[in-house]
Amino acid sequence: MSPRRLTRSEWWVGASLFIGYVMILVWTSSDLAMSRDESFYAQAAEYYGRWLAKLFSDPSFALTQASIDDAWRYNWEHPAWMKLMFAWSWLAHETLGLFSSASLAIRFPGMVTAGLLLWLIFAWGTVVLGARGALFASLAFATMPRVFYHAHLAAFDVAIAFLVTLTAYTYWRSLTDRRWAPLVGLAFGLALATKHNSWMLPAIFAIHYAWVRAQDARHARSLRPSMWWLPAMLGLGPIVFFATWPWVWFDSWNRIGAYVRFHLQHVHYTYEYFGVSYFEPPLPVSVPFVMTLFTVPITVVALAIIGLASRRRELAPNWRPGPDGSQDTRVEVLWLGCLLAPLVAIALPSTPIFGGTKHWITAYPFLALWSGRGLISLIGNTGNLANALPGLRRVVFFCLCLAPGVTQAAHSHPFGLSHYGPVAGGTPGAADLGMNRQFWGFTTGSLASWLTERLPQGGSVWTGDTTWGAWKMMQADGLLPDNIVPARSMAQADLILVHHEAHFREVDYQAWVSSGSPQPVHVLTYDGVPIISVYENP
């Protein structure tokens, strides 16, 4: 039995979520300076964009190995799909002036994927949970503070969350309608071409499919679910991956091998967790779970737990048959797998230390869907009014459950990576506990006006964790004047920036020696917690 189709009004709600979220992201983007990784991808977008332009003007030259290597060698460690999107958007800005700034142009495709993900969560949720639960799930995801931060960026994290969710959705549809199988392959290919989080999808689907088959056998169902998703993923997926990444068109095996090795043997990003700076694995197994509790609105987490509890019989290991047929259970087991797999992968002791919550962000659309399930188990939906609250109370309850996320997301901006929820005691509580304060150096954007005021005649700044590319982008965006330049040497800079992370204390002490004093001339704070100290050389 195929899932029901969305009604026209449901399509409009989904489209409104998409448009509304993208508009909010565009509106608030200028508050955020480019992060470290974004600055590399922005540079890549410019290189790739020039190659794309060459592809149209002189295709025979553009397709030579020399030309491809010249353009695509930069940032070879990440596949190309999103960077191609950034490049197209940057080209559109350069030629048509579509955006107010270059950084917004480069970020726009990432914002679009965030909007599309809300739409997808709503659409999938609607056919499984009904519109009310789906709307809650979509908004709950949108207002997770760290999701809200990452949704702004020219990076891969929200994009891979969208493509993982899309691949899971198309896989689920393909079980009952084999016409969806090519779309599974296409979505998986784009996921492969975006980030390596996608590598775990075949395993999740294989386990899920084995369970579906076992269930069908137990109930003696004659109609077997389609298996066309598997050849589509294995066939079409790699083709899309290959076709969208010119770097691997030459010396393919070596370059793909280098890409895979880069991530399997990834350098470890130092991560502070409960007062300990972890320089090498293993991170404690609890990291993704505790960080989820600390950074996702706890109301959403609690609703997801209620959602899971409400379906505990169907999800129990013996997988007893539910009275409502197989469809809901099938999708919920899939949602559970997609929720747990990224968390477990990061929790494994053998996993490199990647750092922040973004590395398991692919779990959060499914966490949101489970919270939608939890919500409707408490307020009921249109198909099951037995436990439904009366109309107004239902609306109030819905809004009350959403309000913590909305207020936290608003308050977290533009310090999204420093924000912690009330379970951690907020950002000051997290500082007491010794949790990671920030990374990527983007908080320098919040200092731009102070720096401009401090150096009215211009000067030089040792930029700490902020890359020179991010600095240049701030200047291009008009946040900083051109005469305030990054300094190569800490000692020769007028001002020294120290981004507060535990393992950056070394840099703090270097600044003491350079300036001859332990006294910063300014400290940028968020909720009273130091984010950046600024020192002045004599």
Partner: protein, 312 residues
């Protein structure tokens, strides 16, 4: 029927729980943000410390993460030594500026005041009497680097500070002894190093060059009853295992008086040398660093001549 009633009750309780959680989440950020000390609170608290500050006082911040805020307000009352971690030799009183109800001591303070979410406390101290701080007087020392049969003097240079950046180790200070220009790490001078616990240590960088010593010699040093010697590698190297130990040997009037052997992952290490027989006299003291393999032996030491007193 009974199951339906029971299920309905569970749902009601679950709704109540969710309402309670949501209200907690809505109210607690307001509580958190309103408890953040105000600028006026900082001004008043630091004005109070400043107006009562006396030479020999030390200032501490707790919790540790407010240290940048305290240093921004009161940093002019601190030196690189007093801002660094030590056992407060020579200090007569300790000021503590704290937030969030935190305190480093359960002892009753002599002075306690509250300024808009900031607590100021002061305790009298009875720490060791500081007779001579070798780190602060390293510029007056003579540094030599022994290379086989030859002993090379290391020349004092006034040069811009050098280094800086994550994983780069301590900053080379503006004044330092330079032993070999071909070996940019072979210098001796007072800097601030992050130890294995990432705490700041005011110390003399004296990277060993091998089995032949790098030597820092002080003449006419007034001694007390104890010589406290501490040292470690910079955290970047101390947290890794498998490299050579570093030996710091202390000589008084040419005789070996004590030694500190540092192995990886042992952090900031302390030895005390009994100098009671020299107490009140001036002596020649030198410090030698050696190691079987000098690769990544980013060693830094501090030493002070003291007279013992009771601790706080």
């Amino acid at each position: 029927m009974a199951e339906a009633i029971s299920k309905s009750a569970v749902v009601r309780w679950a709704r109540l729980a969710i309402v309670a959680i949501a209200l907690f989440e809505l109210i607690s950020p307001w509580v958190i943000t309103t408890s953040v000390p105000t600028e006026a609170g900082w001004r008043e608290a630091t004005a109070f410390v400043r107006s009562n500050f006396e030479p020999g006082d030390r200032i501490a911040a707790t919790p540790q993460w407010i240290s940048p805020l305290v240093r921004a307000e009161l940093g002019d009352l601190l030196t690189l030594r007093t801002a660094s971690e030590d056992d407060l030799p020579g200090a007569s009183r300790l000021w503590e500026v704290s937030t969030r109800g935190s305190s480093s001591s359960a002892a009753k303070p002599a002075v306690e005041a509250q300024f808009g979410g900031i607590q100021v406390r002061r305790w009298p101290l009875s720490t060791d009497e500081l007779v001579f701080d070798f780190v602060e007087y390293v510029a007056d020392a003579e540094v030599t680097w022994v290379d086989g049969e030859h002993s090379h003097p290391c020349a004092w240079r006034d040069a811009p500070p050098a280094g800086g950046g994550l994983g780069r180790g301590p900053m080379a200070p503006p004044g330092r002894f330079v032993c070999d220009r071909r070996k940019p790490w072979l210098w001796v001078g007072a800097t601030v190093m992050a130890d294995l616990d990432l705490l700041p240590r005011r110390c003399v960088w004296q990277h060993p060059a091998g089995t032949d010593p790098v030597r820092t010699r002080f003449e006419q040093v007034p001694l007390g009853d104890t010589l406290v010697v501490e040292g470690a590698l910079d955290y970047n190297n101390d947290r890794r295992e498998g490299r050579s130990p570093v030996l710091l040997r202390v000589f008084i009037d040419g005789h070996l008086a004590g030694e500190l052997r540092h192995r990886d992952r042992t952090g900031w290490t302390r030895v005390e040398v009994d100098t009671s027989r020299f107490s009140g006299s001036t002596r020649e003291v030198w410090f030698e660093t050696t190691t079987p393999d000098p690769a990544a032996r980013t060693f830094c030491w501090s030493a002070s001549a003291r007279n013992h007193r009771g601790q706080r």
